[in-house]
């Protein structure tokens, strides 16, 4: 029955108007009494029904059919016969039905079919001695049109109706191609004939071919793609917009794309992680376990612009950075621009990560869920009516073994170092904030600890009143609640039995929402207008709360400790326009305005505010970009972005340029350059254990200048059927970088504490080369990448040039995936040069005037030493749950992180114990297993 339903869905799907060219014939019925082998049965079906069934005669001849059919629906018959014999069937994009035992059979049958060619004109096809093939061309009633014309269309997911952005559409054998826009629309100009074929590629989906004819070119073409079945050997991540022999888009420089649906094949720690998967690609550092943020080409995570459905997300990770803040179930497409990006994007120095959320299934309600050792994840999509859809996704961690392991990694070490933040190297005296209360002796004090968790929620409502307009409202909320507080209940004799509560609580997160209106004014003009609101907050409360009675016998609460609050509000309006000027030119232009409000407060003992900053800034600007196919081989994009920033009252001009040149079909040269400015910076605190780790500030043109970068990128790619070899080198010049330091001065006992802030400014550069060899097809896929890089900063305050903290000289990564039937095996190995660090070299002790000995450390040059090399091996096994008609309904995955339990050093810690400086390494995660179960209702 379920199969029947599925087939019905398929029928419904294909009944979609614009796909009328390739109907799935499902109304066929069959009657009669049959006793024959299965291959003969298929021959009969091929003969009697208007369907194309492809099968392997050797395989099917083993089975027999003995049954009586009375007006039996073909779909039911097929399902019943397959189920009975442990077979499956696969319906291809052209509605050919393949009878298979394992998913790999589809490819084999297809290959054989292609090898046999189009010699025979019969309808049925089997792979054996006689072969009848599908007609590869659609019959035409009218003669081919010869005047060049334009076509418009839309690429969608065939089963859910979800539009597919950035899919690559190309005219076969012609160098005319385009990519779909954010709503899946595309326009092809100067199509020479209506006999052409379109090749459509989108990563994570099967490549499809669409045949133009005199009829379908007159209206909007809707092309539905099928999600790739793993066995069809699609690659997980591609360095281009789409893979495939004939239809690669070589025309973008430094672009990476990910298909969230394929993420589960990679080894993971607890979650399918979008941002972490990018870390397996060249140019993006992989040795930062404590940050899901992207260190792209010697940049820092705050130099990476993260957009979710158009709005900027300021907090991109959960749980101290171990997990990215995006639920992969709610994400349709992620594109990362590693540098030299388009004038459409700005405000960041290094890179852009553009995440497009799913709209939700427009055809049927679906529910899916994941359960891992870290979190539970529920996802619902529902068509509200024929014009609108709704999507909801919610994920929440639970305090299982994995969560605790990571949480404790942070908090057990903070017990010994928390006190080190403000006093010179006496961290050994640390302890819980507030000092524990050793003076209370052996009294029975009870301690309770609360729960910590993170969650995120995605909701999206899409409304398409007509073909021209689409409205969508998207909400994203993610929060972390990290609590290491303790409540000490004292015996009645002390302080009248009241509680002392010690808070050590960090909460941070985002709330973002956008209202998008996209409109296709005509086949050439498209606009996308977005009103968005995004907030970020981070609160840190590290204090002791004590209730005492005052003279009048009233309870009074006294809080001592430190409190920090960082808030950012971003209210933006932007409008992006695309205009197709003709076959060779496309213009992109737009305007944007954004109001940002950032505050940072740091206070001591709930009374004195040490830092209290509030900055409001207004950013206004516009951009224009021209994409031109100057020859069939040369494509250039030139753009200009202009931004006015009210804090400095200056206008910033950012020219951008990129070009690709196809030397041959296989060999493409590419280059890009551009200037980039950044107005909002995230500054890192010196000591991640003594307070919030980082916070956002706005440039003020004074202590925090507007930082600037220039990128120069050059490279080439060379590809064959199964392999892609890609090389890119870059040089980035960075100016007006800021580093931040806080110093507590004064004496706590005297009550005259003041917090000094220091912003150090300097410049820097990053350079490197990335090499990647990728195998894109076959049972075995994967890649090897090597990056040679250098990131150098130059700050006068640190005595000139030094290696930037994120500098990694060599990075080698290999990703291996092997598909066998419903099984996928994957293994990744990462090697990276250790990060630079600054360390104490010697110590010395002097007495102050009254004779108290004070010990100091002498410190090496900034970042003069290196951590040991980082390397680790991860592996995973995934088993797909697949239905008779080859649709995937879920998977079970087991993964092992850091298999040989390498102790990779996160940072070093120095404590003075009995005059001795004890150095200890704080390591990243050791061997960590994880189990994930994913299920979809449909």
């Amino acid at each position: 029955m379920r199969i029947f339903l599925l087939l019905l869905v398929l029928t419904a799907t294909t009944g979609y108007t614009a796909m009328a060219q390739r109907p799935l014939v499902t109304e066929a019925k069959i009657s009669g009494f049959y006793t024959l082998s299965l291959d003969k049965m298929m021959d009969t079906l091929n003969a009697k029904c208007p369907v194309h069934i492809v099968y392997d005669r050797d395989m099917l001849s083993q089975y027999d059919v003995v049954d009586h059919f009375n007006d039996e629906n073909l779909k039911d018959l097929l399902a019943a016969v397959c189920k009975k014999n442990g077979l499956r069937y696969w319906v291809d994009a052209d509605q050919t039905i393949y009878i298979i035992r394992i998913p790999e059979d589809v490819n084999r049958l297809k290959k054989n079919k292609a090898a046999i060619g189009l010699k025979d004109e019969g309808r049925g096809v089997h792979v054996g001695q006689t072969v009848n093939s599908v007609k590869d061309v659609v019959e035409r009633k009218t003669p081919a049109r010869q005047i060049p014309f334009n076509i418009t269309g839309r690429v969608i997911d065939r089963s859910s109706g979800e539009s597919l952005p950035s899919a690559h559409v190309q005219l076969r054998h012609l160098n005319i191609s385009t990519s779909t826009n954010a709503d899946g629309y595309f326009t092809l100009i100067n199509v020479p004939a209506d006999t052409c074929r379109l090749d459509i590629n989108f990563s994570g989906y099967q490549q499809d071919t669409y045949y133009l004819n005199a009829e379908n070119i007159k209206k909007e073409i809707v092309i539905g793609l099928f999600p790739a079945v793993r066995a069809l050997n699609e690659v997980v991540i591609t360095d281009k917009r789409a893979e495939g022999l004939m239809s690669t888009n070589k025309r973008r420089v430094s672009v990476l794309q990910i298909s969230p649906s394929k993420l589960e094949e990679l080894p993971n720690i607890g979650e399918k992680d979008i941002l972490r998967s990018f870390q397996l690609m060249p140019g993006i550092s992989a040795s930062n376990e404590s940050s899901s943020g992207a260190y792209v080409r010697g940049g820092t995570p705050d130099q990476n612009l993260v957009l979710f459905d158009g709005f900027t997300v300021y907090q991109v990770d959960h749980l101290y950075g171990f997990f990215s803040a995006f639920n992969s179930n709610a994400v349709k497409d992620v594109t990362m621009y590693k540098g030299g990006f388009s004038a459409k994007y700005g405000g960041r120095l290094s890179s852009v990560t553009d995440i497009v959320g799913k709209e939700g299934n427009s055809k049927e309600t679906n529910i899916a869920g994941d359960l891992s050792l870290l979190s539970a994840n529920v996802f619902v999509e529902k068509p509200i009516n024929d014009k609108s859809t709704l999507l909801l996704a919610y994920r929440r961690s639970y305090q299982g073994p994995l969560y605790d392991k990571i949480f404790n990694k942070f908090n057990s070490s903070s017990a010994t170092t928390a006190a080190g933040g403000n006093r010179p190297a006496n961290a050994g005296t640390g302890g819980p904030p507030g000092g524990g209360g050793g003076g209370f002796g052996g009294n029975a004090a009870s301690v309770s600890t609360p729960a910590s968790y993170f969650y995120d929620l995605n909701a999206k409502y899409t409304y398409a009143p007509d073909d021209q307009n689409r409205f969508s409202w998207s909400i994203y909320q993610g929060n972390d609640n990290l609590d290491n507080s303790r409540t000490l209940t004292l015996p009645a004799a002390i302080n009248s039995g009241r509680d002392i509560s010690m808070s050590d609580k960090t909460t941070y997160g985002n709330l973002g929402s956008s209202l998008k209106w996209s409109s296709r004014w005509n086949s050439k003009l498209y606009s996308n207008t977005l009103l968005s609101y995004s907030t970020y907050h981070s609160d840190r409360d590290n204090s002791t709360k004590l209730t005492v009675q005052d003279d009048d016998g009233n309870d009074q609460e006294i809080s001592t400790g430190t409190f920090e609050k960082n808030n950012l509000k971003d209210f933006s309006l932007k409008s992006d326009w695309e205009y197709q000027l003709g076959g060779q030119f496309k213009a992109l232009f737009g305007a944007f305005g954004s109001r940002q409000n950032v505050s940072y407060e740091s206070s001591q003992n709930d009374t004195s505010k040490l830092i209290d900053q509030h900055t409001k800034a207004l950013i206004l600007g516009g951009y224009g970009e021209l994409e031109a196919d100057l020859t069939t081989q040369l494509q250039v994009k030139a753009g200009l972005r202009e931004t006015w920033y009210d804090q400095t009252r200056k206008t910033y001009l950012e020219p951008r340029f990129s070009a690709t040149y196809a030397v041959t079909d296989k060999f493409t040269l590419k280059a890009s350059t551009g200037k980039f400015y950044q107005f909002t910076n995230r500054v890192l605190r010196e000591d991640i254990l003594s307070g919030s780790r980082d916070f956002w500030v706005l440039s003020n043109g004074d202590a925090i200048p507007v930082s600037a970068a220039v990128h120069y990128i050059g490279g080439f790619s060379y590809e064959t059927g199964q392999f892609l070899f890609d090389v890119e080198s870059y040089y980035k010049k960075l100016d007006n970088l800021s580093e931040y330091a806080q110093r507590l001065t004064g004496n706590r006992r005297g009550g005259t504490v003041s917090l000094e802030e220091h912003f150090y400014n300097g410049s820097g550069y990053a350079k490197g080369i990335e090499l990647m060899l990728q195998k894109t097809r076959g049972r075995y896929t994967g890649w090897i990448s090597y990056t040679l890089a250098e990131a150098t900063n130059n700050f006068a305050a640190y005595g000139g040039e030094f290696a930037a903290s994120q500098d990694t000289r060599h990075e080698f990564k290999t990703v291996n995936l092997y598909h066998y039937g419903k099984w996928t095996f994957s293994a990744t190995w990462i090697f990276a040069t250790g990060k630079p660090y600054t360390a104490p070299l010697t110590s010395y002790t002097i007495d102050d005037y009254t004779g108290t000995a004070k010990t100091f450390l002498t410190i090496s040059d900034k970042n003069a030493l290196r951590m040991p090399a980082y390397h680790r091996l991860d592996a995973s096994i995934t088993y797909d749950l697949i239905k008779v008609d080859s649709r995937k309904t879920g998977s079970i995955g087991f993964s092992l992180f850091n298999i040989y339990n390498r102790a990779n050093v996160w940072y070093k810690q120095y404590n003075v114990v009995n005059n001795q400086v004890v150095t200890s390494n704080v390591n990243y995660l050791g061997l960590t297993p994880n189990l994930t179960l994913s299920l979809r209702w449909k």
């Binding site: 060379y718 110093r743 006992r749 250098e790 002790t845 002097i846 009254t850 005059n915």
Partner: protein, 270 residues
């Protein structure tokens, strides 16, 4: 893929690597390693007292000794600009000049000595004596603390002085009794003078925890140089981003500074 093609990839990759490695020309790693040879200097010059300069070695990180080993047999010279005197080593690493009248108000002193081909030097100026030092009371009551009762309120003594030129100050509480009695009998810590570096202020208010011992106190208000609080209050030393401590000793470490005090009496009782 054919062997030939693989070979082509390898060659391409090889060429690319060579080209780029040449871009990353051999740059010397400028890791300045430990300079253990810098001596550590400690000296507080006060008019009317004899000059004492202590010189130590630095310690290795895993040393367990409390102070560095004394640096012996040095020839220390102290000059006030017109007169230069030599210090004598009275104990290992302790160099003194016995004439207590050598240090005078507002004079600038320069210390110098040679060690391992380097001249180590430091300079400091004696600050002005504090002006207008006064206290709101000459006695201080410390309330009795016991479990189960609400203690009486602590009434602080307020010290004031004039500080029109934003000078730096430090206050020292020195108990002058031969056998001072403890505020809390359970406290077993030995008596120590209490020192508070105050910064650029013109008043100080006592707190209950200022006093662990009862009896007669001398309250010394020092006008100090900024170098004292910079050297002894310097932060750094955090677990992740370390900074070098402040020193005013050229080619050395530690502090060489002068200070000037005024004194009041205070009686602390329970």
């Amino acid at each position: 893929m054919e062997i030939k093609e693989i070979y082509r990839y390898v060659v391409l990759a090889g060429i690319a690597v060579i080209v780029v490695t040449s871009l990353f020309s051999c740059k010397k790693e400028n890791a300045v390693l430990a300079d253990y040879t810098r001596p550590v200097v400690q000296a507080y010059l006060i008019p009317g007292t004899i000059v004492t300069v202590k010189v130590y070695y630095q310690k290795y990180l895993d040393d367990t000794i409390s102070h560095g080993f004394p640096l012996k047999a040095l020839k220390l010279k102290l000059s006030d600009g017109t007169q230069s005197v030599s210090l004598t080593e009275t104990a290992d690493g302790v160099y003194q000049y016995a004439d207590s009248s050598f240090i005078k108000d507002r004079m600038t002193y320069k210390l110098s000595f040679d060690y391992l081909d380097k001249t180590i030097s430091a300079e400091t100026t004696v600050p002005d004596k504090p002006v207008g030092f006064s206290a709101s009371a000459n006695t201080q009551a410390v309330p009795v603390f016991s479990f189960g009762t609400e203690p009486e309120a602590f009434v602080p003594v307020v010290f004031k002085w004039s500080n029109p030129d934003q000078g730096h100050y430090m206050m020292v509480f020195k108990n002058t009794d031969a056998y001072p009695s403890r505020v809390n009998s359970r406290d077993t810590r030995a008596y120590k003078d209490a020192e508070e570096i105050l910064g650029q202020v013109s008043s100080f208010q006592t707190q209950q925890m200022t006093f662990n011992f009862l009896g007669n106190y001398k309250v010394l208000l020092f006008r100090i140089n900024k170098e004292y609080s910079d050297a002894l209050n310097s932060g750094g030393g955090t677990s992740l981003n370390l900074t070098n401590p402040y020193t005013n000793v050229v080619n050395g470490l530690g502090v060489f500074t002068a200070m000037r005090a005024d004194t009041l009496d205070l009686k602390v009782y329970q």
